[in-house]
Symmetry: C2
Subunit: 333 residues, 2 copies
């Protein structure tokens, strides 16, 4: 076996089979995957299905607190969780560039496997392609996930009403700043790590306790909390309380230096919960008892000014939080 990926690894021949059998199956194997089906067979689910996909193109592939493998599992598990779904199965499509060191691929797949175990979900089918190398020999991962939904509850934006409260399970913008800090041209040093984590368990705990008082959930990834809230602001508006936003001083410092608004920076282990006001204390308590929610906070409320996201600043002023325009931080996830 060569020690880096060759174009020939993508040819559908014996070299690709060796790669899959020697490198991928020992890490990701399970009853489904071991048979290497082009297509997996799953039992008929008893509940409605959730179905989601994301590609991951993060640069660098390995960053403080995580890597593209962990990201590819958590991103898809969290999209399922945001809809209130329990993950049933994931699939994984690998596009590797020629020259990618096999050691790097192994490290990433090991981390991907650990994240899948943590999220109690298997990779049941997959695909591997190789493309000519770019500047840096890189890797793109695409996961898709199937989840099992509640029969009755559907957590969507049209269930949000004025008066509902906004909760977040911890500090904002850690992921984006941790990835930036790992780039060769980073102008700052930090001990910050990405928050990338699978949130299905945390979300289930909140739903179990608060049921339909949970109106809607969304993970503020690319575009940060600003994009997340602007996408939800269809028939309602949101008011954030700057003082209540959990943002670490190192993140604030890095954002100031880079000219970034932390509200527009990506998170990969955060979930925004929109909750009926009566249930908010219970939701907050549930979050804070969970290892991934210790720094949870109530950060704002829903109001009637449809389409508008506002921030009430520490000094009592108010500013509009716009939808970010384009790419502030390229290849952050």
């Amino acid at each position: 076996m060569p020690d880096e990926i060759k174009l020939a690894h993508g040819g559908g021949g014996s070299l690709m089979n060796d790669l899959i059998r020697r490198e991928i199956l020992p890490l990701l194997g399970n009853n489904h995957l071991d048979a290497l089906p082009d297509c997996a067979r799953l039992d008929a689910p008893a509940h409605p299905l959730a179905f989601t996909t994301d590609s991951f193109v993060v640069d660098p592939l390995i960053f403080p607190g995580g890597d593209i493998g962990r990201l590819a599992v958590c991103g898809t598990v969290n999209d399922l969780a945001a809809r209130g779904a329990r993950p049933l199965a994931l699939c994984l499509a690998i596009i590797a560039e020629e020259g990618l060191p096999l050691d790097t691929l192994r490290t990433i797949l090991k981390s991907l496997a650990a994240a899948a175990r943590h999220a109690h979900v298997h990779i049941v089918t997959g695909d591997t392609k190789v493309v000519p190398r770019h500047a840096a020999a890189s890797l793109f991962l695409t996961t898709a996930g199937i989840g099992s939904l509640h029969d009755q509850l559907d957590f969507t934006a049209n269930r949000i009403h004025p008066g509902d409260l906004l909760l977040i399970n911890g500090h904002l913008a850690d992921h984006g700043i941790a990835v930036m800090s790992a780039r060769p041209d980073a102008a700052f040093l930090t001990d910050l790590t990405s928050d990338v984590a699978p949130l299905a368990d945390l979300v289930n705990a909140v739903i179990d306790r608060c049921n339909s008082a949970v109106k809607c959930m969304k993970d503020p990834t690319r575009g940060g909390l600003a994009a997340c809230l602007n996408e939800l602001a269809l028939n309602v508006g949101f008011v954030l309380d700057e003082q209540a936003l959990p943002i670490k001083p190192t993140v604030r410092g890095a954002c100031d230096m880079l000219g970034l608004d932390p509200l527009t920076v990506a998170n990969e282990g955060k979930m925004l919960f929109v909750v009926a006001p009566d249930a908010a204390p219970d939701a907050l308590d549930t979050l804070r008892r969970h290892p991934l929610g210790r720094d949870a906070a109530i950060i704002g409320r829903v109001d009637k000014r449809a389409g508008l996201v506002r921030l009430r600043t520490t000094l009592g002023a108010e500013r509009i939080v716009d939808m970010p325009y384009g790419e502030q931080l390229p290849r952050i996830c």
Copy 2:
């Protein structure tokens, strides 16, 4: 809207939203996708599920008879069909390189939408990422698909027995040679077109007529019929009859010139059927009545020599058909 893809189109902000709303939704929109969910909701299926994924990295993006969009739908629909599944829903993850002309993206998405209509399946959720440009501004598509399986019938390799017959629904190696002919360095001209097509309907027709006499199906894509048969040769062997193989003279000529074995060249609109001998005439008749099976043929049989694929040549000699080693034709799908 700029006339080519910018890094900023991948930022999760308003520029990305514009791209999705103006360019993607008008072509691919449906009840699910129009709400732009990170995660789609599907009714609980009554039958076991099939789940599959493939990435597509074909170069060039547009080739005689098809393009990467049509390929991305057909590849996943055909993986579902090979398991005997009716497609229920697809998801689509786009990785575009900076600089990709929007006109090219439009052409490809239009073709993808047409293929999805042809296959009676919707794209229900998706994702869009942008990466820095490579030599040619390119595009990678990843589709995953959910299908509905028969409750009883499972078409897998362990149902194959000596004496079963091998059928194919038409000419071999058209796709690979058509893609090669579209490359700038192609040393030959041909009017050949790719066979890329969704086969769910054809496969259902054969299953409806022959039921459990259909033992196993597999689409001979990357690595061609040689890789396909070698992967199925676990407990049995196969003998191909060279005289019966449907291969066009232009494909033979191009393969001779390029030093390729047409058995190792990719197909994207072909299905190998392994059928009990009594049912083979019915299966062949069903295939030939279908527009995608007019040139169907019985091309060989199953024997006892486990792990071995042999070709009986026109002259009566016999040669081993090995698993191809690596990449003969890079980025063919």
